[in-house]
């Protein structure tokens, strides 16, 4: 087998996360690559949530429908995940939790009873980790060591009982494996896997630190909160001021104030919260303040599906905020992008004195996988502000429109910024000639930022017939689908900067017999943007807006439908 897909399903509050966290550490220690992602309901207790963990000796980084092993932690789990259960799916759980008409192999295992014998039902999750470890044939010592390390901050008795629970699950299930002739043989890894295991939120957080972020103010909102917690957790070590604002309006205005005083600030939010920030973004446009916005998309309108995924806020990010001023939109495709693009966002925001967006989504934020390395030598950390002199003018009209930015208390100049139209010194004016000059000055930056647009990445041969276009978090999904279809006539063009788009875009599109857009929304917002920017209409669209990410299988099926099965 190339890879194994394990799904844990249960209700909120049952501790699926503990299983996920502990088990993924064990897998990694044993040398496997892994990918994990979760879908969950907007509730703290009850309901049905699931986590998928893919394990392989090769690199895995995309969500699939297929389930090889399903662990059910409650009675509703089977119902919740019904559609994904296959003939070959092995279902493991308490007798009462594995009841289904589906013709799959089922193994009843007294998880709770085993846990109770050790001391309490709360050890059920650790028993489950033991079961999974025995199926994979993981060395028992690894199971023991990692479990011990995972619970190291607990009392000795609790650590010991968890180890016991893990071992018991492992041993008891090992007997069953032989009896039931269960065989999930994966190629054995050669050594410990020393990849960096991150999720999307952490990649953005690390990128922010690398970008010199020292100020974050935000209001908690799923799925964007992970970045706020990550930076808060690391605030002491990196001298970051992390503040939970009373609302998103305050958050964005604080961050703009922080940049004014020389800090490097960001907000992290989702659609509804971002809506409240839009006046602030317009302020940044007017006073030419740098600002970095992490916008983690979720299904809308309004509260929508709070814990689920969508790429529905591209237009919102692009067209929100009154008035005309430049902005840049990045959409990380990979965890590496999460790091490098967030770092770059700080640099570019500072350099051009404009808002820069990092557009992610719940799927990106909540998915983990291993990446080789993050190269700190690639970091370009340079402050672009200047030390002012006595006659300093904040909005001095210069050729490229980017007036050197001073900050108060650094130099002898005065830093005057105004949300009203202003003259070179920053004071209110209604002089129409100055108004024209200031509008033109702000818009000139558009041509400056053209020089730094990240080109889309072409994966596949240059003489393609079919061109599949994606942006942001769908990268690995599309890539794996195309690998599976295995046809040289298909290439993949992926955008990690979605505004402004690179000038080569049209050339790529024109070369294709058929261009196909894949995006997680209902109206194909990126197709509309490409048409507006290039005149080219991408007519074939694969769209999904049910709140879930595409699965590799869905993409294979949908792509084949468009290009014909014969190839």
């Amino acid at each position: 087998m190339e890879d194994l897909s394990i799904v844990l399903c249960g209700e909120a509050g049952q501790g699926i996360q503990t299983v996920e966290k502990l088990f993924t550490r064990i897998i990694k220690k044993a040398g496997f690559n892994l990918f994990s992602t979760k879908e969950y309901m907007s509730r703290v207790r009850g309901g049905s949530n699931s986590t998928e963990i893919r394990i392989s000796t090769k690199s895995v980084s995309a969500y699939i429908d297929r389930i090889d092993i399903l662990i059910t932690l409650n009675g509703d789990a089977i119902q919740h995940i019904q559609k994904r259960i296959l003939k070959n799916t092995l279902i493991i759980g308490e007798e009462k939790n594995i009841k289904t008409k589906k013709n799959s192999k089922k193994i009843a295992f007294p998880i709770a009873k085993t846990a109770e014998e050790i001391g309490s039902k709360i050890y059920s999750n650790t028993v489950a980790v033991g079961i999974l470890s025995s199926i994979l044939g993981i060395n028992k010592k690894i199971l023991k060591d990692v479990t011990k390390e995972y619970f190291q901050n607990k009392k000795r008795d609790i650590i010991n009982k968890n180890i016991k629970a893990a071992e018991k699950g492992y041993d008891l299930f090992k007997d069953l494996i032989e009896k039931e002739k269960i065989n999930f043989k994966l190629n054995k890894p050669k050594s410990e896997n020393d990849n960096i295991l991150l999720n999307g939120a952490e990649s953005i957080g690390l990128g922010a630190i690398a970008g010199g972020c020292n100020f974050i103010s935000s209001y908690p909102m799923s799925p964007s909160t992970g970045v706020l917690t990550f930076l808060s957790k690391n605030s002491q070590d990196f001298n970051i001021i992390a503040e939970q604002a009373e609302d998103e309006i305050s958050a964005i205005n604080m961050v703009i104030g922080a940049w004014y005083a020389g800090a490097r600030g960001m907000v992290t939010t989702s659609g509804g919260g971002y809506a409240l920030m839009t006046e602030g973004i317009s302020l940044a446009g007017m006073i030419e303040s740098p600002v970095v916005i992490h916008l983690a998309q979720r299904p809308a309108p309004a509260t929508g599906l709070p814990t689920r995924t969508e790429q529905g806020d591209l237009e919102h990010a692009l067209y929100s905020s009154h008035g005309e001023f430049p902005k840049i939109l990045f959409a990380p495709a990979t965890l590496e992008d999460g790091f490098y693009l967030t770092q770059k966002a700080f640099d570019i925001a500072d350099k051009y004195q404009i808002p820069v967006y990092i557009l992610t989504d719940q799927y990106f934020i909540d998915s983990f996988y291993g990446i080789k390395d993050l190269d700190l030598n690639k970091i370009r950390k340079k402050n672009h502000f200047i030390k002012t002199t006595k006659n300093y003018k904040r909005y001095k009209l210069i050729k490229n429109g980017i007036s050197p930015r001073g900050i108060p208390g650094y130099g002898s100049g005065l830093i005057c910024v105004d949300s009203d139209e202003h003259d070179e010194s920053g004071r209110i004016t209604e002089d129409m000639e100055i108004r024209n000059k200031m509008v033109e000055k702000r818009l000139k930056k558009f041509s400056e930022i053209q020089k730094e647009i990240i080109p889309p990445e072409l994966i596949g041969k240059k003489d393609y017939k079919y061109l599949i276009i994606g942006w942001g978090s769908n990268y690995h999904l599309i890539k794996e689908a195309i690998v599976n279809i295995d046809d040289e006539k298909i290439a993949h063009l992926h955008f990690r900067q979605v505004f402004p788009i690179h000038e080569d875009t049209l050339k790529f599109l024109k070369k294709a017999d058929k261009a196909i857009m894949i995006e997680n929304n209902a109206t194909s917002q990126f197709s509309k943007l490409i048409r507006q920017q290039t005149g080219y209409e991408i007519k074939n669209r694969i769209l999904q807006y049910n709140g879930l990410p595409f699965s590799v299988e869905t993409l294979i099926k949908e792509i084949k439908k468009i290009i014909g099965d014969k190839l």
């Binding site: 295991l197 703009i256 104030g257 700190l376 005065l414």
Partner: protein
């Protein structure tokens, strides 16, 4: 420091002749110069409205932001560079109406900034509608039968939230207002000074004479550390007390909670990225 150092050469003031804002402008410049604060060390943050135009007539650093949003950037500016003196100044509509939420939470946060509110109980720039502090019965082109909403009482709200410095002044009394402002700016924490002022164009009820007749100063024996007494005084509405209602010296200023500010008052712009710590953090994910 001379008050003239805050003067600009040629300015075209947008206030009506006789507006209370003129005396507040004068008081501010005198207060700051007497406190020896230089224009380069000061940041005036304001929102939108007639009062919020005050930085336009001031030679200093300023951040004239959005309507109702002076407090958030002011808080962040002070956090980012604790060596600056930061004043958030706007009118009653801006601070208590549009920005009411920030006012409440700034009291809880207690940043070391001074919040000055020009309170003329009416909207000036939008031409005469009711403000959050307009008296019941006050007729306007919108509130045609008179205001029916209970006026917002900033003083009692602030004391109820245990604000660290709460005062009310009157723009017509330069000497006393200056004294209050000096104490407010020197106070380490969020200091609120609500300055009553007449609006000569849109409020013919709360005039200069009305304020003279309907205010009195808290007497010299008044104990400003007593929160209950402060609250009692704050709800008096026959005649409005002037002076410092309440000071809570025990509250830590917001900036003091952050390591970087606590240690050496290092502005964030001097903060270097610790590559070795970042490298360590990344390694911890292996």
């Amino acid at each position: 420091m001379n008050a003239d150092s805050f003067n600009l050469n040629s300015i075209d003031i947008a206030w009506c002749p006789g507006c209370g804002n003129y005396s507040i402008l004068k008081i501010m410049k005198q207060t700051l110069s007497e406190l020896n604060i230089s224009p380069t060390e000061l940041v005036l943050v304001s929102g939108i409205g007639q009062a919020a135009k005050i930085p336009q007539y001031f030679k200093t650093n300023y951040f004239n932001g959005l309507h109702g949003r002076a407090i958030p950037p002011a808080t962040a500016i002070k956090l980012s560079n604790p060596n600056l003196t930061v004043i958030a100044e706007s009118g009653d509509g801006d601070m208590y109406g549009e920005g009411g939420n920030h006012f409440i939470h700034a009291i809880r946060r207690n940043p070391d900034i001074t919040n000055i509110i020009h309170n003329n109980m009416v909207y000036g720039l939008t031409k005469g509608q009711a403000s959050p502090t307009s008296k019941i019965g006050f007729k306007t082109p919108v509130q045609i039968n008179g205001v029916v909403l209970e006026p917002f009482n900033p003083i009692s709200t602030a004391i109820a939230l245990d604000a660290s410095f709460v005062a009310r002044a009157f723009s017509g009394d330069i000497k006393e207002t200056k004294n209050i402002l000096k104490k407010a700016i020197k106070h380490k924490g969020f200091s609120i000074v609500d300055i009553l002022q007449p609006c000569v164009s849109f409020n013919n009820i709360n005039t200069y004479d009305w304020f003279k007749e309907n205010t009195y100063y808290l007497n010299s024996k008044y104990d400003s550390s007593n929160r209950i007494e402060g609250f009692k005084k704050s709800i008096e509405n026959k005649k409005l007390p002037l002076g410092i209602f309440y000071i809570n010296k025990k509250r830590k200023s917001f900036e003091q909670n952050f390591k970087i500010n606590q240690d050496k008052k290092i502005p964030l712009f001097k903060n270097e990225l610790k590559i070795s710590s970042l490298s360590k953090l990344i390694k911890s994910k292996r």
